[in-house]
Point group: D2
Chain length 189, copies 4
């Protein structure tokens, strides 16, 4: 079938939920990084999973999880997706795929680590291989134009003000995501 | 109104989600402990929250959170409840209430700590006061009839086999929950 | 003995380790908050524990833990102190004392949550009662002069640049600590 | 130089601390698994690091971290090693090495997840690639002779009673470690 052949060409799937578009911007920047490294990539909104979406995930070499941090953890929508993945867990269908993660919230730190650690835990249940940002913290802590301005190594932490996603998160966080996409791409066979 | 008056008398609310009844049994044992200490208590299934449920929570002195551990964290249903509580977070309506937590899963350890830590994080966002089990680990690790057989201090960890909840979790875990209920009750004004 | 009498009057002990003085500044600001609430307080450097230090902790109503975040967690010096406290754990000598925590590191977020969660875990092993910051995040994320500029609820997160502690962490973080000290004081009998 | 040549042949280093020998048994079982997969391996006690030890780590393809869980987290001795590794962090000398972890404590669950998550965090700061156990939980929860009897996926969780390490941890935990060693070996170039 045509679709299956196309789906088979997606090497990296960015499986994300975004409430207001800020996390989506991080997802898109990450995807740009993967593309820049000449690997196929697709952003997949997990709030409305179809069979095609699951097939795309099953065929990918890498899955990068993304979610806002809501009330101290990954969003309920993302968690619903994680629970729906239990069918794959049962057969260990995602074993040895590359995994990564990112999150976005209103404050600089808050509980973003909690969300990323949940994603690590989910990936480990699936026997995936976790790859972090591979970046040292920015030279100037919090500088809006510097990559890894929040100083995270497990996955990408982004911060967005309560304004439209075109304005925030700032350039530095998008750079972090883009660079992470390149790193994820470099891990593929 | 009759209901409101009754609701106002509930001192401890056990706000839980249970997928197959095992976590509910832990909730009920915990409630027995609160009752034994002569404090009013009610188990509240958070999968179908009504205005009355929220009022009950708003008026309680203590809220104990309960959820199975699914795919490495609190259930999506529980997380949905947590996100719905953001209205209370915004006004800090639950500030200084006593908080506690429990979880149940198929394995002895697994990622139960992840679920409990999420509950601590949620409670801290609400500026609640966290009370743990206050128990040393059981003398014999894992002994099915001993309290705190899994050795948890943050909150109650229970383990249930894939059998009806009447059979599992074992007596030890229910004892842990009951004892925890007594401890929560002892913290009330 | 004079000292013992004085020690007995200390209601809040700030038990901290500081590598270069930045975490100490947070400790001192926290202590100022406790004092402002007219409660007795002492900062105790846990890198050189004496019998008097342990007695002071045993007699306190509240213990607030403090440590830099080094390589993703509480410092080894702090951990050594935590392990030395196992004698108190064994007899549950600190049961029902109030507990809190704070940490300081070079980046805005990094792994500060990891350090605070370790402190919660330690406190729960001691059957202490955990009190968080009780503060919403700052209106402007990261603003150096605003309280809770990093958006933490579990305990105080502070960020210090690689400059002398007189210059950094900024006023906002010291405000957060001071306010936390007042909150801890408000929890005492 | 002879030593350098030999050191260069070590593909997997098990960098562990053991207080009473129980964690060492887990380390040795893990090393057996690596050897069974025909990869060179050495157990390195991190409580007394020499220059040769650091060189061995620098030249390895994979480092597996091991520590008892003491007072809710990795031991102070292990943390001291982690902090000493900051020199490598600064130059990102361990970037892209494979990482894994294991822990052992008296109770079935307790705070072992806390220790493993700390090891993940440490590995991520070093930009290493994290590999978990890749195992589903045992069919019978807690069964002393079954692999992954405690149900961990992030790394190996072992439980040892307060008896000599020849007697405990039980066969199941050693099997888990051995199997994990084989998995780590399978990840090497």
């Amino acid at each position: 079938m045509e679709f299956s052949r196309d789906a088979a060409t997606i090497e990296v799937v960015v499986a994300y939920h975004s409430g207001y578009g800020h996390t989506r911007r991080v997802a898109e920047s990450l995807a740009e990084g993967v593309s820049a490294a000449r690997r196929s990539v697709q952003c997949l909104d997990v709030s409305g999973m179809s069979e095609e979406g699951w097939t795309m995930l099953d065929q990918a070499q890498a899955i990068v999880f993304g979610s806002p941090t809501y009330m101290g953890g990954a969003s309920a929508v993302f968690k619903q997706f994680a629970e729906a993945s239990s069918k794959r867990w049962f057969t260990q269908a995602w074993k040895d795929k590359i995994a990564g993660g990112f999150t976005c919230s209103l404050s600089m730190s808050g509980d973003k680590y909690s969300t990323l650690m949940y994603m690590v835990t989910l990936a480990m249940q699936h026997s995936m291989i976790w790859v972090g940002t591979g970046m040292l913290p920015s030279a100037v802590a919090g500088a809006p134009d510097q990559a890894n301005r929040l100083g995270s190594s497990i996955g990408v932490m982004a911060q967005a003000d309560n304004v439209p996603p075109e304005i925030s998160p700032p350039a530095g966080d998008l750079l972090t995501a883009r660079s992470y996409g390149e790193r994820i791409a470099s891990m593929l066979r």
